[in-house]
């Protein structure tokens, strides 16, 4: 077990280098550059631009720029935004807590509602109730999140006036409710379907029949024997989903004006702020790796047939 964890942690190093390099070269390959973007429509003396680029180290070849970036990173320096002159670390430390809050909110919503719907449908598979819930989840899967976001904004904020259409800089829990529901709805549909299938399948299994034959009360049969087995695939999905939720908040954060990670990535991309994009993406990659490691460990706890050596 300890060896396994150590190996997995070591595996993160190449993934970390690979993903940063990939994002870095993508930013390099994009047309336009941050210095020219500063000037906007105005015409600027090319010599001046070249001088600024030299100052910022943007005239160096890709490998050299990457090297400088990595050296800075290991000294705790995430780089500086060119336009605002703010350290990227500041931006990350501001945006991350908001996104983490939004993600956890959406995640909790996904887990609670998704699993409940799945259990509710799976217990009575192939009935009207099950079919209805399946159609509902299909609807959630097929409607893009920006449509859902705008619809939610339109009805709950503009028509009913229950919530603010925009999230303030403080991003309170009650403000985040609607964005979290929109963000989590896709995963919710997947979780519900996965749970439903898993429950329906395990209900027919031999060990469930044994549990009934043992004279156990229904509560125990479902709570202990059925749930434990049915949650194994769901937990796997939820783990990878946690990472996806963090990175996937770009659209939702845009609609509700949440100043989180997604919003900042989008902003940085527009202004070709390479350091910001690479910094944030790398952090998301790390979150993703850690959460999938946790899931794999949890998996072994849930299913004793899996042993890591």
């Amino acid at each position: 077990m300890g060896r396994y964890v150590a190996r997995r942690l070591l595996q993160m190093i190449p993934v970390f280098i690979g993903s940063t390099l990939l994002v870095f070269s993508m930013m390099y390959a994009l047309p336009g550059d941050p210095v020219r973007a500063l000037a906007g429509e105005q015409t600027v003396d090319p010599a001046q631009i070249a001088a600024m680029k030299k100052d910022l180290g943007l005239d160096l070849p890709l490998w050299h720029q990457y090297w400088n970036y990595m050296v800075g990173l290991f000294q705790g320096d995430f780089g500086t935004q060119i336009a605002s002159g703010r350290p990227v670390a500041d931006i990350i430390s501001e945006a991350f807590p908001i996104t983490v809050r939004l993600t956890l909110f959406a995640f909790t919503f996904t887990v609670l509602v998704g699993i409940s719907i799945g259990v509710f449908a799976g217990m009575k598979a192939d009935t009207l109730r099950d079919r209805g819930l399946l159609i509902l989840t299909l609807l959630l899967i097929s409607v893009p999140s920006f449509v859902l976001g705008f619809l939610g904004q339109y009805f709950f904020a503009f028509q009913l006036g229950w919530v603010n259409p925009n999230v303030s800089g403080e991003a309170n829990w009650n403000e985040l409710f609607l964005p979290a529901v929109v963000l989590g709805s896709l995963s919710l549909a997947y979780v519900a379907r996965l749970t439903r299938t898993s429950i329906a399948e395990n209900l027919r299994s031999d060990y469930m029949r044994t549990a009934v034959a043992k004279g156990l009360p229904r509560r125990r049969i479902i709570g202990v024997h059925l749930m434990r087995n049915s949650m194994i695939p769901v937990v796997t999905f939820l783990g990878t989903d946690l990472g996806a939720l963090m990175g996937g908040a770009v659209v939702t954060e845009g609609i509700f004006n949440v100043k989180g990670v997604g919003y900042n990535i989008f902003d940085a991309l527009r202004h070709r702020e390479g350091a910001t994009v690479v910094g944030i993406v790398t952090l998301i990659v790390v979150v993703y790796l850690v959460s999938s490691l946790l899931v794999d460990l949890l998996y072994a706890v849930l299913d004793p047939r899996i042993r890591y050596a």
């Binding site: 060990y207 044994t210 043992k214 004279g215 009360p217 087995n229 299913d303 004793p304």
Partner: protein, 353 residues
């Protein structure tokens, strides 16, 4: 010739205590059907049998003969729907379980009547330790603490002779061999010392040497606790040593009942004869093995008359029109053979011819 009613199918049991009035479990005219898309499958069509304390009834039949469905109906673990019990009674100590409340039935399950399933690997929960699954019986039914339940579980594992029970109590089902897993199933059924155990093909998934060990263990424990045992099997070899009486089922009906050795000596139904003839024998080495021709009937369309008639070598016209009743079988001179019955129009020819 008298028509056997539900009680005369009883054989005086060798171990039954005399003060017990009536059998432990009695199934009367049980019908079970399944409503499927292809129509109604009549899995059980009027089964009668009974078991007393200390007695072993073997229910013999091929797949789809309704032997397991009858057992599931007794345990109350039929899936309903699609299953339905349109008529019949299942009397446990004289009380009809089919009219009991769910809670009453639950309290009987495991405590009074327990079941051993065929495939122990899939019948045990893969994610719970065997100690937990055994201990659960004591925790739920007797309210023992976790620790006490574990001690009881170890005791049980010792009883069914699982080596190093103490070290293995926290192991999971997949860590045991097939024979050991079946022992755990037996231990689980035995946990609360029930009056009756239903063993549904307990040795089918095991290899032959382990089969013998498991059957011996089961027979020994049954003697010790003086339990009733319903042994469901399609293996004639397994039955011979342990059973007191046999009921042979075909297409949801009992076609023959007999004390175990009588049945082997002189079958009174062509189906039973066919089953006995299809056992491979050393003295017929090199010859073609006998097989009952044809296939078991589709339960949604059971043939008219005797269900066995399309496959029967001695079928006559009457077999295609009239359903034969389970009649008591007598000697040539009319002396009754206790406990014997045959549902064949031509039982006389079969047994004496």
């Amino acid at each position: 010739m008298t028509i056997i009613d539900h009680t005369t199918a009883d054989v005086p049991s060798p171990h039954g205590s005399p003060e017990d009035s009536g059998p432990l479990l009695e199934v009367r005219d049980l019908h079970v059907e399944f409503h499927t898309r292809d129509g109604v499958a009549r899995a059980v069509n009027g089964v009668n049998y009974s078991v007393s304390s200390g007695e072993t009834l073997a229910v013999l039949g091929e797949s789809g003969s309704g032997k397991s469905v009858t057992a599931q109906a007794i345990m109350g673990i039929l899936d309903m729907p699609p299953g339905r019990i349109p008529q019949g009674e299942i009397l446990y100590r004289g009380r009809d379980m089919l009219t009991m409340s769910n809670e009453e039935r639950r309290l009987i399950r495991g405590q009074k009547i327990a079941m051993i399933f065929q495939d122990a690997l899939s019948s045990l929960n893969p994610v719970l330790s065997v100690g937990y699954q055994l201990g659960e019986m004591f925790r739920v039914h007797q309210g023992l603490s976790k620790k006490e339940a574990k001690a009881k579980a170890i005791e049980l594992m010792d009883r069914v002779r699982i080596p190093a029970a103490k070290d293995r109590v926290n192991d999971y089902p997949h860590q045991f061999s097939g024979g050991m897993r079946q022992r755990i199933m037996i231990a689980m059924a035995l946990a609360l010392e029930p009056d009756l155990i239903i063993a549904d093909e307990p040795t089918t998934a095991l290899d032959v040497t382990v089969q013998a060990q498991v059957m011996d263990l089961l027979a020994e424990l049954q003697r010790e606790y003086n339990m009733g045992l319903i042994l469901i099997t399609h293996d004639l070899g397994v039955v011979a040593d342990v059973a007191d009486k046999i009921a042979v089922m075909y297409a949801g009906r009992i076609v023959e009942t007999a004390p175990v050795h009588e049945l082997y000596k002189r079958p009174a139904h062509p189906y039973t004869r066919g089953l006995l003839d299809s056992i491979p024998r050393l003295d017929q080495k090199g010859q073609e093995l006998y097989a009952i021709k044809g296939l078991p009937p589709n339960l949604t369309r059971i043939p008219a008359g005797c269900a066995f008639n399309p496959r029967c070598p001695s079928a006559q016209d009457i077999c295609r029109t009239d359903i034969p009743a389970l009649l008591s079988v007598t000697e040539r001179d009319g002396t009754e053979l206790p406990g014997r019955g045959s549902a064949c129009h031509f039982w006389k020819e079969t047994i004496h011819g």
